[in-house]
């Protein structure tokens, strides 16, 4: 066993031990504990849990690679602005009001505010979005185990499933929340330590957010020499229209994602819900302002290490990742698989443009690329696992609460006792974990495509009806149902029409499929408002309630509703 493997094993075992202990200490026996942790989580802890829930394997493992390697550096800004800007919308327009409304889930809000058929559409959207997402997380768990511990992907995913099963089934939302607080701590330390160390080493400035400015000129020069266009140049890979639409789709999608919104129901009070949003974005910004610097440092280092180097002289990080097939020769066409590096003669001189580096290795390999010691590499592996497992558990809770609360309790058996509801919740959770594990071991080909699209779908389906449901008392059930369906159907149709593996069309005005969610959202707003003008208004009590949730404080009606007496 190499040094790196030993340290990875140490950090993984330690962190898993902590998660299991926390889960045991916070086991629950009530539905409110299972779905929303009893609603008693203090704001900073809730913020850390939101941050861990939100920052998935994609944020931790892939984002820096996408920024640095795909296209030029500026194009990746859509993710940085899109995935953080959504929190401003959440904090100002949704979180405090949804918390005041009470309830457990988005479908619960939709069913209560609008109608039962709207509830079922919302359940369907929430479950589909969550399963697609969770498959990506489980695949990330497999990747970390394979590369760092040399175990089979299947074994890695099964270990991950067993851990999640233990803390999610036993502790529900309460177990998940406190585990996520620990997971945030692990993942942020694992992300920041190598970034600070590399920045100090390369620039002499320890803070990567500042140090990264000093290398941009050099990087721009290198990229220009290679014929790639400057790293910081605007619109090198994406035009202005698509930059705007994709950023907006990610922002409004963030504000409509079920596993994030459910977190505001776990807050102690409306005030705590507001503070949770602030803490969450603060914790997220620590990683999101560091990621672009990791991207720039790694790209600079990779070009310097590879360009003009003979195959026999490449550094060891290059060889190890080439062996697992994540660095290859450049494929002949985009999307194809490149030939292995090992086919090249040892004296071949490499050119950066002739090789293909997988986006996913940048963060996992950054300590090695920067020449940092083995314990740090092990820590990063534990951080990647924490990011993947925390998001997976949040999503699994959305699936199980949608099935157990919104379908079983609200639709099938409203007389169910609390113990029975809890049992159904646990069974749904167990079932969801098994399906998620299967999807992680055998990921369907479209997962990578659909994860980015999930945001567009969330923006096009949920965001308008949530905002209108809170701010417009005359928004009707028929309007919301029609709007949700129209937004969802047009967006899905456009995606199927334009995605490479299906329709492969250029679409209208060259709008990228990832940006169309913004258009779908506008369609949803127009349809919801138009249909609402001509259909039966909500009941007087509901209209009054919608007015009152925006008043400061808690009126009698709001309090009664939150306790289920209206």
């Amino acid at each position: 066993m190499t040094d790196i493997q030993t340290w990875t094993l140490v950090f993984t075992a330690l962190s898993f031990g902590v998660y299991i202990y926390i889960a045991y200490a916070s086991r629950v026996n009530s539905t409110s504990g299972f779905y929303v942790a009893g609603g008693g989580i203090p704001a900073p802890a809730n913020g850390a849990a939101i941050a861990a829930d939100w920052m998935s394997a994609a944020s931790f493992i892939s984002m820096a690679g996408i920024i640095g390697l795909a296209g030029n550096g500026y194009g990746g800004s859509v993710y940085l602005m899109g995935w953080t800007g959504g929190y401003v919308l959440l904090a100002l327009l949704l979180a405090p009001y949804l918390r005041k409304f009470g309830k457990y889930t988005i479908p619960d809000f939709v069913g209560d505010r609008y109608s039962e058929s709207a509830r079922l559409i919302a359940v369907l959207c929430a479950v589909v979005v969550s399963f697609v997402y969770v498959a990506g997380q489980m695949a990330g768990v497999g990747l970390v185990f394979t590369r760092f511990l040399g175990v089979d992907t299947t074994v890695g995913v099964v270990i991950g499933m067993a851990i999640v099963f233990f803390y999610a089934v036993l502790g529900g939302m309460k177990g998940i929340t406190w585990t996520q607080v620990a997971q945030y701590t692990v993942l942020i330390i694992a992300y920041l330590i190598p970034a600070f160390a590399v920045s100090a080493k390369v620039t002499g400035v320890a803070v990567p957010q500042i140090g990264f400015g000093t290398i941009l000129d050099e990087l721009n020069g290198l990229q220009a020499d290679l014929g790639l266009g400057e790293y910081t140049a605007a619109f090198g890979s994406t035009n202005m229209l698509n930059m705007l639409l994709i950023t907006a789709a990610l922002m409004f999608g963030t504000a409509g994602l079920p596993h994030v919104i459910v977190r505001f129901y776990t807050a102690k009070s409306v005030r705590a819900a507001r503070f949770s949003a602030l803490w969450a974005l603060f914790f997220i910004s620590l990683l999101y302002t560091t990621a672009p610097s990791v991207a720039a440092f790694s790209k600079l280092q990779i070009i310097n290490d590879v360009e003009g180097t003979a195959v026999s002289d490449v550094p060891s990080w290059f060889t190890t990742w080439a062996e697992v097939g994540l660095i290859t020769q450049a494929p002949s066409e985009p999307g194809a698989v490149g030939a292995p590096i090992s086919e090249l003669a040892p004296d071949t001189v490499l050119r950066y443009t002739d090789i293909f580096v997988n986006n996913d290795i940048i963060v996992l390999a950054s300590p090695e690329i920067g020449g940092l010691p083995a314990p740090i590499v092990g820590l990063v592996a534990a951080g990647g696992l924490a990011a993947a497992l925390s998001t997976a558990s949040g999503l699994l809770l959305v699936i199980s609460s949608s099935v157990a609360n919104d379908v079983y309790y609200k639709r099938i058996n409203p007389q169910a006792t609390e113990a029975r509801q809890l049992m159904v919740g646990r069974i749904a959770m167990g079932g969801a974990i098994v399906v998620a594990g299967y999807l992680g071991i055998n990921p369907p080909g479209f997962v990578a495509q659909v994860v980015a699209l999930a945001f567009g779908l969330a923006a096009a389906s949920f965001f308008p009806i949530l905002v209108l449901g809170i701010f417009w008392k005359n928004c009707t059930a028929a309007g919301a149902t029609a709007g949700m369906s129209a937004g969802l159907i047009t967006t899905m149709a456009y995606m199927l029409w334009t995605i490479d593996i299906y329709g492969n069309s250029d679409g209208i005005f060259g709008i990228a499929e990832t940006g169309f969610g913004t258009v779908g959202m506008i369609i949803n707003f127009i349809v919801t408002i138009t249909v609402s003008k001509f259909t039966t208004k909500p009941s007087p009590v509901m209209q009054e309630l919608v007015e009152e949730i925006r008043f400061p404080g808690r009126t009698e009606l709001v309090a009664k509703h939150a306790e289920g007496q209206v």
Binding site: S32, V36, G38, G39, G40, G73, Y74, S77, L80, M81, T84, G85, Y87, V88, L89, A91, L92, P96, G102, K103, Y104, Q209, I210, G213, T214, I215, L216, D217, T232, A233, A234, F235, M240, M243, L244, T247, A248, M251, Y265, K268, S269, V270, R271, R274, F275, A277, L278, L281, F282, S285, T289, P292, P552, G553, R554, A559, H561, A562, E563, G564
Partner: protein, 76 residues
């Protein structure tokens, strides 16, 4: 709230995307300014915006004499 949302749109869609090219002609500490807004400045501004909002709402609550701080954990 309208003011905060206007700033939100100006730093991200405005400085980060629509006006990125003219802003890139200026540079601070090695960063072209438009690029800095897109990758750092907008995120920092977002955190500040929520902080201002939270603080304003707290003041508003105080004006109305609301003190829900430690009770209220009810759910249906």
């Amino acid at each position: 709230m309208a003011v905060l949302l206007t700033i939100w749109a100006l730093v991200s869609f405005g400085a980060g995307i629509i006006f990125v090219e003219p802003l890139n002609n200026f540079s601070i500490m090695g960063f072209p300014l438009g690029f800095w807004f897109a990758q750092q400045g907008s995120i920092i501004t977002f955190v500040a915006l929520i902080a201002v909002y939270v603080w304003r709402m707290d003041k508003l609550d105080a004006e109305y004499g609301i003190d829900e701080y430690e009770e209220e954990v009810h759910h249906s």
